[in-house]
């Protein structure tokens, strides 16, 4: 029990004194997660709208693949990306392995299916009467599109927050692609895994508390938007 209390004391101390190593790891994680979520949104939102609104051959298959990818284990994706960007891989020459850019590629691939699927659901849930009403009110095609986005806004924001939550808590991609290099590609989750093995429980616990706090804030915001959906 003393050992846990001591680790907790150390953890709180590290957080309150804004320990440079803790700050660096948290900063790297936030930077990575925000960039990955932004890039996934850039591709995922239009794709989600297309999948929801346009009928094409193979749509059923694509939706099944998308739903499967929602629960894709991060180590499997890590392995896949590793095989592409490692020296012997197709993109080996680009030197992406053990870099921030490499992790971002992996994380974007991890959360794009989440963004696409959740945006698709948000758009799909909109009542068909919306389109007829928008037309009868005199909306142009682009105004109709923006009305559609506006009606699905809570669902779209929810998709991005969920994706951010997924990416900040993942360990497989960051570990396999990033290599957990101190001060460079070390993220909260990879640091927790390594520092626990090294016996620096206080440090790992500090990061755990921060990750849990971020997760709480994400869920708090998500709940806010979900309750906004019904208003």
């Amino acid at each position: 029990m003393d050992y846990i209390l001591s680790a907790l004391k150390d953890a709180i101390n590290l957080i309150l004194t804004l320990d440079p190593e803790v700050s660096n790891v948290v900063g790297t994680s936030l930077k990575l997660s925000l960039t990955s979520t932004f890039l996934a949104a850039l591709f995922g939102i239009p794709l989600g709208i297309i999948v929801s609104k346009i009928d094409f051959k193979g749509k059923y298959f694509l939706n099944t693949v998308l739903n499967t990818l929602l629960s894709l284990p991060t180590v499997v994706l890590g392995l896949f990306v590793y095989s592409i960007i490692s020296r012997r891989g197709v993109l080996g020459e680009w030197g992406l392995l053990f870099t921030i850019r490499g992790i971002i590629i992996g994380q974007v691939l991890l959360i794009i299916p989440i963004v696409v699927a959740l945006v698709r659901n948000a758009i799909h849930d909109i009542d068909e009467k919306m389109y007829k009403t928008a037309m009868s009110l005199g909306a142009t095609d682009s105004q109709k599109f923006w009305l559609l986005i506006s009606e699905a806004r809570y669902g779209i924001i929810g998709a991005l927050i969920t994706s951010f939550g997924r990416v900040i808590g993942e360990v497989g991609v960051s570990m396999m692609i990033g290599g957990n290099i101190k001060g460079f590609t070390r993220t909260i989750t990879t640091a927790i895994a390594m520092e626990t093995n090294k016996g620096r429980f206080g440090f790992a616990l500090a990061l755990g508390i921060i990750l849990l706090s971020i997760s709480f804030i994400i869920n708090f915001i998500l709940y806010f938007f979900q309750s906004g959906e019904s208003k």
Partner: protein, 227 residues
Amino acid sequence: MKNIILEANNIKKCYDKEHVLNIENIKIYEAAFNFLIGPNGSGKTTLLNILSMVDTDFKGDIIYRGQKVKKDKVDALKLRRKFSVIWQNPYLFKGTIAHNIGLPLKLRQVKTKEIEKKVKNIAKELEISHLLKKSHNELSGGERQKASIARALITNPEILFIDEPNNSLDYESAKYFNNLFSKLIDEGITILLITHDLYQIEHYADYITLLDKGKVSKTGLYEEMDI
């Protein structure tokens, strides 16, 4: 006989290769209460969608004030902006009722201050000022319909298309709106109304078109018709 404001010739509409509408001719008279009646599934709402240019996927011609209307996006939009539609189950957009009522003006790029002023005026006129700050999903069925009527009237449409408006209105509100529609006709607005309400037909109809199985079976002045 009043002037013809809108006319449709040889309208054909198919769903899954099956003709659901086959209208040789239908005339909508200006500043009059035009009624569209018929049994369920006779194609009334489909025809309303076409006449209001909400649906442009049909064969045939629409003539507005003597001019044939092109079905391209620009002309269809121009015409739609002269019309308003009150739907049977109105869709309200997320946001306040004030936002919903002002939306058609916002889409026409009217200045915010002017929109606010017009929203207040129409809400006062229709006695729904107390609903303006409410959210779109806080309203009863009748209140939603009243908000959608205000939204339809805020643009001063030349033709008002109405699809069975009284379904969600109580007796007093239905009476109020029937009188309001009559007043609008006196002011020069044309109304095309779909209804099953015999009282409404008996007391307000100027012209009637009876649809049956997607075809016009009777049409003309109400007084001269044997329905």
